[in-house]
Amino acid sequence: MANTTISRRKMLKGLGVTMSLPWLEAMGPLNAWADQPTDSPATKAVPNRMAFLYVPNGKNMVDWTPQKEGVGYDLPAILKPLSKVQSKLQVLTGLTADKARAHGSGGGDHARALAAFLTGAHPKKTDGTDIRNGISVDQVAAQAMGGQVRLPSLELGAEAGAMAGNCDSGYSCVYSSTMSWRSATQPLPKEVNPKLAFERLFGSGNRGDRARRDAARRSILDFVREDSKDLNRRLSANDVRKLDEYFTAIRDIELRIERAAKLPPIEAPDYPAPKGVPGNYEEHIRLMCDLIVLAFQADVTRVSTFVLANEGSNKPYPFIKVSEGHHDLSHHGGKAEKKEKIRSINIFHSRQLAYLLEKLDSVREAEGTLLDHSMIAYGSANSDGNAHNHDNLPILLAGGGCGTLKPGRHVRYADETPLANLWISMLNRMDIKIAQLGDSTGGLKHLG
């Protein structure tokens, strides 16, 4: 499926008010990569994809950061599970999520870490009244490329949102459980149920049923929109904001229906539809990973986020002999026994990443594999859970990005290099030119 600027522009114009972001004007003709190798396997026939995976509470950094830089880097304990895909992996050391720091807002490093991870924005400390963060990189991509695929983006998680109270020192739970932000004020809830995620990707019922249902839905949506348009006059500004969410959601669905009618039909994959949320955490994560692979393979979406566990999660991991809560352990106070357990959890998560990467790499596509045509970012906006520091973050970037990346290296960046610079560079590789995202200061060099 070819990328065409014109259709994208047209599409965005159609989105109206919610899409009127200044950077769209900057979208020029598509890509001439200065640093793209001439013998790149990338062809424009194969689309590039991006996924962002988050793990909470930081890492044992000594067991994460390779000693050697460049090609042929070593794999410390936490990275060991990734040995099979090492040549398709970049370890990026030295990046910083400055906006996760307090900046006068006091405690709440966990909530801020997840909120700032993809946004480069400093979330507003509130227990709910006026949630405010920034748009996240995946949503920038989703909004720019929506017209080309069925689903602009897919938001997944393997731990449901917290059920009580504020989650971290006065920050609403939405910050510590949400990675994707459609706008500064609209967090996008993650889907934790594989069954529903699957249905969202591939629908239920056959193609004819879906088309009929879509048509029926349009008539419902047409009616409710017309019927409600005069409500605004008699609502306060705050109510109007809520009603706007409603109208935006309706518009989104109408667009999805329009796209479904225009795009070639997707074949339901040869994969058993998941039944629900597995009781086993590892199985749950892997099922979600499978869905990312299936979605990319069928080109249903090209953008996905996946929160493996909420930031500050106090989940115990008894199946790897860690019965204490993850968050409690992360405040290890330098104690060896606790650090070992933290490392076990870190390794467990790496194994899940390895599962995803190996799976992507096993799917042949054009001249390479699905992994060659993807950019998978993995990491945390907390470095050491004990210190709550947000510099020198554990970040991996896997995949070839359609030949725009040069994986198989450990790259060290200057201290305080904004993490958001990586997001800018990834967007550029999706042919999305954007001047700034959150606290970014430009693109990230030495990626490809």
Partner: protein, 804 residues
Amino acid sequence: MNRLDGWGMMGTLAFGFALGQSAWAAGPDFSRGGAAFLKKHCVECHSGENPKAELSLEGFTDSASVVKGRKTFEKVLRMLALGEMPPKKKPRPTVGEVGAFTEQVKAVWDFADRHAKPDPGRVTMRRLNRVEYRNTVRDLLGVDFDPTESFPSDDIGHGFDNIGEVLTLSPVLMERYLDAAETISKRVIVVTPPKPAVRYLAGIYLQPGGSTTKDPFRRMDQASEDAKVAGPFTGPGGYFKLTDDAELFFRATLYAETTSQEPVRVALYLQGGGVSKGSSAAELAKVFGGDSPRMKGAKILKTFEISAREAKAPQIIEVKISRVAAANAGIALVKPPSGKPHAVLRIRHLSTEGPLETRPQSHRMLLGAQTGTPPAAQQREIITRLLRRGYRRTPTPAEIDRVVAFAAAQMQAGLKWEAAMQKVVQVVLCSPKFLFRVELDDRPTAPEPRAIDPFHLASRLSYFLWSSMPDDTLLDLAAQGQLTARLDAQVDRMLADARAGELIRNFMQQWLQIQRLRTVAPDTKRFPAFNEPLRQAMLRETELFCETIMKEDRSLLELIDADFTFLNAPLAKHYGISKTGGEQPRPLKFKGAEFQRVLLTDRKRGGLLTQASVLTVTSNPTRTSPVKRGRWVLEQILGSPPPPPPPDVPELEENGETVTADTLRRRMEIHRKNPSCANCHAKMDPIGFALENYDAIGGYRTQDAGQDIDASGEFADGTKFAGPEDLKTIISQRKGLFVRCLSEKMLTFAIGRGLSYRDRPAVEGIAKALEAGDYKFSVLVKQIVKSEPFGRRRGIQTKNTNED
């Protein structure tokens, strides 16, 4: 009132400072103490033409100025608390001096707020959360649709999942609303009703007795002396699905053999408990002749002439049975004219078809209309009723017109009427008027406080107490303008209704944060007693306990200390209360998961603080956390939460030792010597230590890892305690703090927004009424629904009300 500080959130309405200078005579005096601190430590830099950080602290010399400069002082307090001001190079005030200054500023605000003019604020319109959606669909349409699996979880703000500002509507959720509306509409209205069920009872099974013949036709010959042959024959009404709320056909398939020229007549009849009025003795005698004991109490439905004479072509007779749950349905020969011979009946089977109505109850309820009016009027009646209940107010004629036209267009496009009405249900369920609790306002920007519309009041009441839509009584009272006048009676009625259980489940569980019980995972190696039945039992104990406080209208203070609770076998074992005899009304005998009310004989249990639910959710998976328990009591019970820990401070230093209660306590005592921690931990930790007799899943213990538990200690103010019993006593004595905290929490839940200092007068009013009203549960609820923020509102002038 720590918790209300800095929560200003209701826009920038010019909120006049209501206290005149003279009113301060009785209040705290900033000019003594606070002003001097400011002058000594702050004003030097924060003054003049170019004050540092563009913050001038000049002119704040009396209490009134501190109230006017509230936002400025919030910043000042924050910088002081973080230790960022005064700067390091300047002389530092002592921890005590900072504390005194902070206390005085807060006391000034507190005083001003309590004496301020009431301000109802304004609630942002609330989307129905998952629980409310489910209940509303049930009460509106009569079906139970559980959205927990398909709808994303609702975001939580201010501790609750019904806060308007926080409940967002994502495209994914809207898709799920569409899905749900389709599913629900198809369940409540059926386009093609399924065929009624048919049940046959073969002749061989008819009563009395059974037949030995292999002939499929059972013989009935009244000339015979043998009852098995002679009949009359019946079949059980239960098998035939006879019921007093449905109609069905009762049939017999048979032929007759006779030597006589007389017509053969039979009767179908009912007999037994469900027959309210049988046929008269005279009538029975006329049909069956003389005294016929076997037919006593029977109700003859109909008599038939049987003309079929051979098995090849049997005759089917039928009668409609309307709403009777008889014990038996039967067939009998009618006595032939005197002197004529009896015929012999051969019966293949008795059967029923029905209930004839196979459409769900909801279908009839929704689509029923007055008979005898023209179809267009009926359609309008049906739609008006649905919109009134769905939108929870009187719909406008234009709204009705639009839906009527929509239904007509659907039918024009080829849908049957029922299918078009399914679509109507769908548009209602997908309308913002249904999905949101819209409180329309002709003057959304007018700043004067005024009463909300009676329909809005009806919804606020029903969603507060039932987490569901208002019922017809509430809507009718609202329409008549009578609701405000009858609030007390309505609250009493609503609390007595079964739906009020939702208040317990939704408010209490969130207030106490015990929904987390569903996901906690205590280390089962350390706590082998923890299993699924115990988890369920913990939650249920608290629910039953709170429900009893509500149902029996008991004192809220019993939430802290009570002499009763509810136990089942797993929980009784967990608490070690298996055979407490003595004062029990009857000896205890626990039967599995079944709960019973138990009178407690000591104070180790009784009240929320000592319930396993609360003790478990405030623990770590492997051990107790005195800090978490202390913080929980301060936040949820006393309403004075400690500020969050300063950034970059690791929680606890440990040096390779096993964590036991004793070492924990020693470590935390060291912790409290660190001045940056001490201030708050001095408040939290003692409370937690008083609860150390309860392990991480709430089991009672006197030892931990071989060492005796020491549950004694001393609060920051010097109050000493020896264990959990003392803690309950101490908190009970501070009942003013507790009821204010509970009032704030419940008010937040009731109005669906976070409270601000402007709500202080309302909270004070509720607390005072509770004091005068024996702290009864119903007083709390009634005071809330009569409070300024619940029943009134004002407009907001600014566009962007996020920035306060």
